[in-house]
Each structure stands twice: as structure tokens, then as C-alpha cells.
Symmetry: C2
Subunit: 326 residues, 2 copies
């Protein structure tokens, strides 16, 4: 009996992770190559194709009947409609890269090759393999270095007019507020990302002159959201307030999303969500406080069911299944 | 030759407007009844059916071949999925009203009867008869007593999980800011509705002690957005600043919508939009200032092409055409 599988590729700033994923979201084998600094897309594409072929070969050694249905790619500034990566600030490839056509040249026999950004890929992963399997309307927020999002309406990912929909991390939380990585001010990402939590911790320590906090011996460079979680577990007041405040901000942002889209659920993914109730409780409370009566006590806020380490490749691989549905 | 037409019904707080609308959005005949204060839905439904039948009769007198395809209803707190009006604060009918089934009992022969809220109906009207005819992804903002919105993705109105999507007027513009009609604080509606413009005028007069403004002899009760427009036309500084500030706020809100949905265009409808460039120019400038680079100079901000007076019934009538597509 043949077993169907798909390839997931996650193009990151320094590494490109590759995995072969079965029909229920298990990673059968994974590998990767450097995302190069040389900016030569043809060289990179050859290396990528070789690495994918190696992995396919290794998986077929174990099960010769395995059938590879396609390749899904998650990439920064990935445009689904055009199959392109466009002006990605953290990659060495400049301008508009026709990633999907280049990859199709390497794998002309594969039925489906598609690309989107990493947060959209995670949302599709949640829909195909995870907690959103039976949902038609939901939103995924990925909290990490930045805040990404993927929006699903009527069972389909929303790409919008130009392929770039779902940038909820860049909605305005506090007008004129903190500088965001994108250069403008007050965006949700500047408050609710892992880096945003660090900034909140520094604000609170500065305000309260909190020399007795467990976080007080960490430099701005070294403080991580994991350290804030560990300190919260030990009852550190600053750390606990960071989670309260981050949840209050995130809930406010999620309310705007609900008022646009009325989703069944909002999934949260990424490092800060490992803190569980520390982040989920204040987020839910703030969301409810900001909702119109018709939405109250209706919207689920759920942890992603994708495993943290593999989510990027698993999400990307899910794109293939979504393509084949069409 | 038979001519196809649909009935549009707009249920307002005091009046219910009814129109028979041809296939390109012309109102062939219109009428209406009071939306009663008695709260008796059966009595109201009988009166409504009689009024609709009268109008159909009068239209058939002119053209006996006319074919009525259905009835579309726009109503506050209208739920498309259930065909219900649910807990509408400004109507005398209490709880959940099964409006569509009640109307189907009166018109069992009609192929399509459907209901949604008024802003969603306006968005469908724009798509069927207006400026969004060739668009698959756009958003409609209706600026009036409140601020409503309708979201279209992939050619379909977004109703969300529970039928209530598109409440962009209740997204948070200024955390902790002005009291909104819904009881919470800082919503876009409290700043960008006609009433919001009045509040802005009063804030500016208070701040600048602007006894010389053309608006300075108006009471809070009597000042309207039309008066602000007239004063702006005469160069009144307060009135001009109201438009600048309203546009700045609206552009900020529209940017959040773009970052969710990446629409081709955002249509603005309602009284304040009659001010043309006074409102559109600062809105566009603020939108652009708040957009990520990938969205800049891409998103059209357009005046609705629906005629102001008839938009509610024309929008509602368009629902029928959308139903028959399915």
C-alpha cells in the first residue's frame, strides 16, 4: 500500500529546514541547509533540490511505496498568488524571487508546489493536522521574534487581493506607542512578541525600581521570554505583571480581529504560549472585556496543537494538501 | 420579455423602507411602513407583507411581465445564517426574531428570502450594482449615526462563525478613549461616525476657546456633520481640523483592516463622505502612513457608488441576487 506524504520547507533567515511529513502531520524525516548569505538564488535552489532529493531517497529506503505529492514552502514575505518571495528584509536574495517556478523546474513531476508566509503556513497546518480540523473560520497568531497571523474564512486561507493578507501583528495597539521592527509605532508586535515581553519587563523594572526582581540581573540583550516565565513560576512580581500586561494587550488586539471576522477560535502559537495560563488567562479576560455583547463567551482562545519544533515545516507541508483539494 | 426584479427591505428603528429594484440597481418603486413600538412581530409581519404586495402590484401595473425573484432584508443585529434579528437594542421586538421564516410564510412562492445587517447589505449592494462589481476582496465602511462595515473575501461576504462578522466600527482606536454607544471605550465609531465628528468639534472648540468658530453658536444637540461640512467650505478652522482629525483616525482604523485582509479597495459610505476631499484626503494620507511597505500605494479608498437615499433598500435587494448565485 502506498503511503502519501508531502515535503515542507521553511525558509528562515539563517537556515532552511526541510521535512517529509505524512498525511496526519508526523515528520518522517527532516534535514536542512543554510539559507545562504551569497544572494545567488540559482545556487541556493540547486542545493535545496539536492537536499530535498536526499530526504526523499532516505524515506523511500524505509518505505519504497511512499508517494510524494508535492512541496509546500513557508517563507518571509511569501506571496501565495505569485509563488514569490518579495523584498524579504532578512534574506540575501534581493527583489522578487520566483521561488515556486524555480522549484518546479527542479521537480517537474510533482503535482503541487506552493508557497506562502510562515504564519499562513502554520494556520494551514492547524487546519489540516491540528486543532482546527473541523473549523471553517479561525485565526492563528504566531508569537515569536515577531507576531504573525493567518486568517481562515469559510475553510480557506485569506490571501486578500495581493497575496499578503494576515499581518495582524502590525495592527495598531497603542497609537504613537513603541517602535515596531517595521519602523512604525504602536504595533501589536512591539508589545506581544517575545521581544515585546522583554521590553515590558524593562519598563516595569524601571517604573518600580525593582532591583529585587529575579530579572534584575539580566541585560536587555540576554533577557528572554523563557526567563520571564521561569521567574513567574517563582512568584516574581515583575514577571507576573509582564504576563498580565501582555495578555491584556493581546486580548485587545484579538478583539479587533473578532470584530472583523467573527471566528470560531483564535489559536496562539509560539514560545510565549508555553507559559500556559500565565498568558492565556489574561488574554481571554481582556478579549472578553473588549467584545461587543453578541460575541461574548463565544470565541475560543486555544493553544496550537502543532508541535513547537516542527510547526514551520509541518505547516508548510500542509499547503500541498490544501492545493490538492482544489 | 420578462424583467427580473427583487424586493429590498430596510428595517430601521422608526421606519421600514421597502423598494422594488431592477437588475441594475434602479429603484422602480418604493414605500414603507412604520417600524412599530408595539413589539408584536406577527402584526408587524402582516403589515409588512401587505405593503410589499401593494408595491409589487403597483409595479406590475406598469409592466405586467415583471418577475419578482425574492426579498432581501437589512436589519440591525441581523444574522444571515439564522435569518434572525437577535436582541436589537433599537427595535421593540425582543429576543430572537425568526424574521426570514416568518416572511417565507407570507411569500412561500418566492425563490429567495434572506437577511443580514444593514452594513453587510450595503457591501453586497456595492458588489452587485456599484463600484465593487469586478472586485473579489474589498471592505465597506458605512459612516452614519454609527459606523458599520461589510467584509468581502473571494467574492463572498464574510459572515464568520456565527453570522455577525464585520463590526469594524467597534475595533479599538484609542485604548481607554471616548465612550462608544455600545458601552465600551475608544471604539472607532466614537471617533469616525457623524456623532464622533460632532464630539471632535466640541473638543477642539473647548481646547482652543474658539468662540469665533462658525460652529460656536450650535448646541451639542443641534450640531450635525452637515453643519461641519458647510463651515469647512467657508474656511472655518475648527471645522477643517475636524475633517483632518477624523480622516487621521479613520485611516488608522482602515490600516488595521488592511493588515487583516489585504483588500483591493475600501469603500466609504454615508453622510460624512459627502464632504469629499475634506474627508478622503486625510483618510488616505493616514492610511498610507500606517501601512507596511508591502501594502503602500496599493489600496484604493473610494466613495460608494450607491445613491445615499436608496442604499439601504438597494443593498438589501442585492442579497437576493447573491442568494440565487448559490
Amino acid at each position: 500500500m502506498s503511503k502519501k506524504a508531502t515535503v515542507g520547507v521553511d525558509v528562515g533567515g539563517t537556515n532552511t529546514a526541510i521535512g517529509i511529513v505524512d498525511a496526519v502531520g508526523n515528520v518522517l524525516v527532516k534535514g536542512g541547509i543554510e539559507t545562504p548569505a551569497h544572494g545567488d538564488i540559482d545556487r541556493y535552489m540547486t542545493d535545496l533540490a539536492n537536499a530535498i532529493n536526499e530526504l526523499i531517497k532516505s524515506v523511500k529506503l524505509v518505505n519504497s511505496d511512499i508517494e510524494i505529492l508535492g512541496i509546500g514552502v513557508g517563507a518571509p514575505n511569501g506571496n501565495y498568488y505569485n509563488g514569490t518571495i518579495e523584498y524579504a528584509p532578512n534574506l540575501s536574495f534581493k527583489g522578487v524571487i520566483h521561488f515556486v517556478s524555480l522549484l518546479k523546474n527542479k521537480f517537474p513531476e510533482l503535482p503541487a508546489i506552493a508557497l506562502t508566509n510562515d504564519a499562513n503556513a502554520a494556520a494551514i497546518g492547524e487546519m489540516i493536522y491540528g486543532g482546527a480540523k473541523n473549523m471553517k473560520n479561525f485565526v492563528m497568531y504566531t508569537l515569536g521574534t515577531g507576531v504573525g497571523s493567518g486568517v481562515v474564512v469559510n475553510g480557506d486561507l485569506v490571501y486578500g487581493h495581493d497575496g499578503f493578507a494576515g499581518e495582524c501583528g502590525h495592527t495598531i495597539l497603542i497609537p504613537g506607542g513603541r517602535l515596531c521592527g517595521c519602523g512604525t509605532k504602536g504595533h501589536l508586535e512591539a508589545y506581544c512578541s517575545a521581544g515585546g515581553m522583554k521590553r515590558t519587563a524593562f519598563e516595569i523594572m524601571a517604573r518600580d525600581n525593582a532591583g529585587d526582581s529575579l530579572l534584575a540581573d539580566k541585560s536587555f540583550k540576554e533577557l528572554s521570554s523563557k526567563m520571564i516565565f521561569d521567574a513567574a513560576e517563582k512568584g516574581d512580581k515583575v514577571a507576573l505583571e509582564v504576563f498580565e500586561q501582555t495578555g491584556a494587550w493581546l486580548g485587545q488586539g484579538l478583539a479587533d480581529t473578532v470584530h472583523h471576522l467573527s471566528p470560531e477560535a483564535i489559536f496562539l502559537f509560539g514560545g510565549p504560549t508555553a507559559a500556559g495560563d500565565y498568558i492565556f488567562k489574561p488574554t481571554k479576560a481582556s478579549l472578553e472585556a473588549h467584545l461587543l455583547p453578541i460575541f461574548k463567551n463565544k470565541i475560543k482562545v486555544l493553544p496550537s496543537e502543532l508541535s513547537m519544533g516542527d510547526a514551520a515545516i509541518v505547516g508548510a507541508s500542509a499547503l500541498v494538501w490544501k492545493e490538492l483539494e482544489k
